[in-house]
């Protein structure tokens, strides 16, 4: 049958699941996997395909390649800032949650920080799996209220007159930060530059200013 779209019904189902499933996460996942496979609702080969894709192929190296290209190619940088979804598709990186991707650029006076306070939305196709802290209560609660305190914990200290632009991913737009190119990297090629770009810099919890 179709979904009920009934809040009360779903809350009751969740309460029953709480009492019927093993409390320990690893056991709970194991029990559910065994049931779902036996029932014919999932194919174990599909499970492996998902896990491998985000282990081997899709990860922050993609985002780093995008950033490095933007640093060396002014035309690409302009396209990325205008329509990041199209620009990353051009590099062969279109995928999950990249359909409405926006790139926000750090400058000498503005530092960008990305969060999803309501769930944990993240541009999987460009950055891979989100780090545990991005999905954690602490980051989701504090990034909008105390961004300077959060950044200090990540070793990023900003001048008081530097503006922080926080982007709370409340719709299907997904954000990636285009960090400033680190000083002292004038002679580096695109590949060497990409190796300097951290995943955290593309979320905004690293500024790369001491990277080279």
């Amino acid at each position: 049958m179709d979904p009920s779209f009934d809040t009360d019904k779903i809350a009751e189902i969740n309460r029953h699941l709480h009492s019927h499933l093993p409390p320990e996460p690893a056991l709970r996942v194991k029990a559910l996997e065994s049931l779902l496979v036996e029932k014919g609702l999932v194919d174990p080969a599909a499970l492996d395909a998902w896990i491998e894709a985000y282990t081997e192929e899709i990860g922050p190296k993609r985002g780093a390649a995008v950033v490095a290209r933007a640093w060396v190619d002014a035309g690409f940088r302009a396209r990325l800032l205008e329509d990041a979804a199209q620009a990353v598709a051009e590099m062969g990186f279109a995928g999950q949650a990249s359909g409405h991707l926006k790139a926000v650029e750090n400058t000498a006076s503005v530092h960008n920080l990305v969060v999803c306070t309501l769930c944990s939305c993240y541009p999987f196709a460009i950055l891979g799996m989100a780090p545990p802290w991005y999905k954690a209560n602490e980051y989701r609660a504090r990034a909008v209220r105390d961004p300077r305190g959060v950044l200090a914990e990540f070793g990023v200290s900003l001048a008081p007159d530097m503006r922080i632009d926080v982007w709370d991913s409340t719709a299907e737009l997904r954000y990636m930060v285009l960090p400033r190119r680190p000083p002292g990297t004038g002679g580096m090629d695109e590949t060497a530059l990409a190796a300097l770009v951290t995943r955290n810099a593309m979320i905004g919890t690293d500024d790369l200013q001491g990277a080279a």
Partner: protein, 217 residues
């Protein structure tokens, strides 16, 4: 709904824990939970905001303490029970009462196709946008018992439209099974206007908000 999921601006949380930050999955169970959830999602075409709303209705203590993908998996399971694809008896016994009615589960080829196919949420609408960049707006002062993407910390707040993003499927309706597009805007708020202790801060908080969350200010 005023659930515990609406974490933005909540106080009392400690430092951000950066453990395991460079591993794609937080252990084997985390990886399996993720894969199980996304493998079940193809069983039915449903609005993404129904998934979000089902997760928001996880027991509050579980929501705040259980691993992230463990919650995704519970959400997928709750949805399968809601649609009759699984029963609570099967959950309790761990044994199927019958085989799945759906023709075939998601295959590895389906997975490969999904990994290169972005979803799009923008739709055509007949009406013109009510706001243009630069307009001052005020957000709704109240929530409602269903799903919404206007966080509590940004209610009854004054901001400025910085971009019109086209019309996107409206999440409050999506969680009720209704596919209805509505104009979407990126709105900037002064951090000091949202949080009293940040008065005078140059920082801005940006949210992507649907037209019906907003009124001219």
């Amino acid at each position: 709904m005023d659930g515990v999921h609406d974490l933005g601006g909540k106080q009392g949380f400690g430092p951000v824990d950066r453990a395991h930050e460079n591993e794609p999955y937080h252990g084997e169970a985390d990886a399996r939970a993720y894969a199980l959830c996304v493998s079940m999602r193809a069983e039915r075409d449903y609005p993404i905001d129904w998934f979000r709303h089902v997760r928001e209705n996880i027991d509050p203590v579980d929501y705040l303490t259980r691993p992230y993908f463990d919650q995704w998996l519970q959400t997928a399971i709750a949805m399968a029970i809601d649609t009759g694809d699984l029963s609570m008896v099967e959950i309790a016994t761990g044994k199927p009462e019958s085989l799945a009615r759906t023709p075939a589960p998601m295959s590895p080829e389906d997975v490969r196709a999904m990994l290169v196919t972005p979803a799009h949420f923008e739709r055509a609408v007949a009406d013109d946008p009510a706001f243009v960049p630069g307009d001052r707006v005020r957000t709704a002062s109240q929530g409602h018992p269903g799903h919404t993407r206007l966080p509590a910390y940004a209610r009854a707040a004054s901001g400025r439209i910085v971009a019109h993003r086209g019309a996107h499927l409206m999440p409050d309706d999506g969680a009720r099974g209704i596919h209805r597009p509505e104009h979407l805007y990126t709105v900037a708020f002064a951090r000091g206007d949202l949080f009293p202790e940040a008065a005078g801060s140059p920082d801005r908080i940006h949210l992507d908000l649907w037209e019906s969350y907003l009124a001219a200010a």
